[in-house]
Symmetry: C2
DNA sequence: TACTGTGAAACGGTTCACAGCC
DNA sequence: GGCTGTGAACCGTTTCACAGTA
């Protein structure tokens, strides 16, 4: 029941292409919609069509982690959801913190989508005296100086950074020092972190630039 | 001075790997930080180190669009910024709209980072009667029914979708019908659009899931 | 000397095509 | 018949190594 079934041993989860993992999230999202719509099983080609990828891709991706399909039938949605959540680790609960309670931070604190996937934002931090001590959607906002203490106390594993670019690296260093395991960075800078801390960067301006490029060069982009 | 210098003709911008374009945004971001810090020139290896990629990669990426480097010297930051902006199309002004003025939409309307890269949010839309007719950061919020009209009137080219998942496809269809050229979708659904409209999807939960996976599987992810 | 630009090799991910199974 | 799982072919991207240039 472990995530290393790929053929003859030797292929731990770390050898799985990053692209596969990000598609796993999309499969999960789509499957949840399908179940909500009453679907019970789905074939790789149907699922592929919904996501704009090939059926072979869907099957290859999934077999990296085990054999979840039923020949002649397809994949049972509920079963596959359970498997993918186990693979992603979102069958467990994750405690998350948010550093930076400006516009974006506040919006994300109010966002309902995280909780349903197992992510619980349990504390937020900022430096502005007028927000420290308040709480947003029931999430307490602490001063940055209490970061290590609160992270340890709640056993927080993941952090989101929504501070201005200039402060992001310093905040990241604090999070790392406090023992955080992974970071999602929304500040428009490249962070440098020790190897053992996972990092994903999301830059909203960058996304718009990608679109601008395709449009400016009239690429149909897909 | 056109973006198709790659060797012997034949290699339009559409043949450029997507990965290259997204790194272009990162180069630009880093160069802007460098210039702000007083740098004048930078070598491919220095720039690569800042972004965690190889020097060869930096050079290969850039030569897809022309020859911007100076052997023995490196790249002149200001010059390269100009070139990349021209390539991305962000030397022009882009008019952008935002559909959905909930928490996330409001936060993005207030975000200052877009304007400096050439993106001007000129109108927003929602269905909630209590926000329609108001304005946020000087950006007027219209009813969805006026979407086509306002988009045509302002010559809006790009759209951002920040409505709930269930409404996203319908909103996308409206935007397409109104003649929009590209969409950034923040709703957690896969949209299906005609080929001629560019699409980028940003799903915040998905990003957390990527981190959860790396942490759960103790991948150093990089 | 210090650096870019670029063919060629190496790598990794995607697609194909089919054996096996229900 | 319909569908999965998978080796092998294919294709695009990254890295290497070096010729060329200021």
């Amino acid at each position: 029941m472990n995530a290393r079934k790929c053929k003859n041993e030797t292929l731990g989860p770390c050898d799985v292409p990053k692209a596969v993992v990000s598609r796993l999230s999309l499969y999960l999202r789509e499957l949840q919609h399908l179940v909500a719509a009453g679907a019970v099983t789905i074939s790789s080609s149907q699922l592929g069509k919904l996501l704009g990828i090939t059926d072979a891709q869907v099957r290859k991706d999934l077999t990296c982690f085990g054999q979840f399909g039923h020949p002649g039938v397809g994949y049972r949605c509920a079963e596959l959801i359970t498997e993918i959540r186990r693979i992603l680790g979102t069958d467990r609960r994750w405690s998350v913190t948010m550093v930076g309670v400006g516009n974006l931070g506040r919006a994300l604190l109010r966002y309902k989508g995280f909780a349903s996937q197992g992510f619980r934002i349990v504390a937020a931090f900022d430096v502005a005296p007028d927000v420290v001590g308040t709480s947003i959607e029931g999430i307490p906002v602490h001063g940055l100086d209490r970061l290590a203490e609160v992270i340890a106390q709640h056993g927080i594993q993941l952090g989101m950074i929504t501070v201005p670019a200039g402060a992001a690296q310093a905040v990241a260093d604090l999070l790392v020092a406090a023992g955080i395991a992974g970071i999602v960075n929304f500040a428009p800078v490249t962070l440098s972190l020790p190897q053992h801390v996972s990092l994903v960067g999301v830059d909203l301006t960058t996304e718009l630039e990608q679109i601008a490029f395709s449009v400016a060069n009239r690429c149909t982009s897909r």
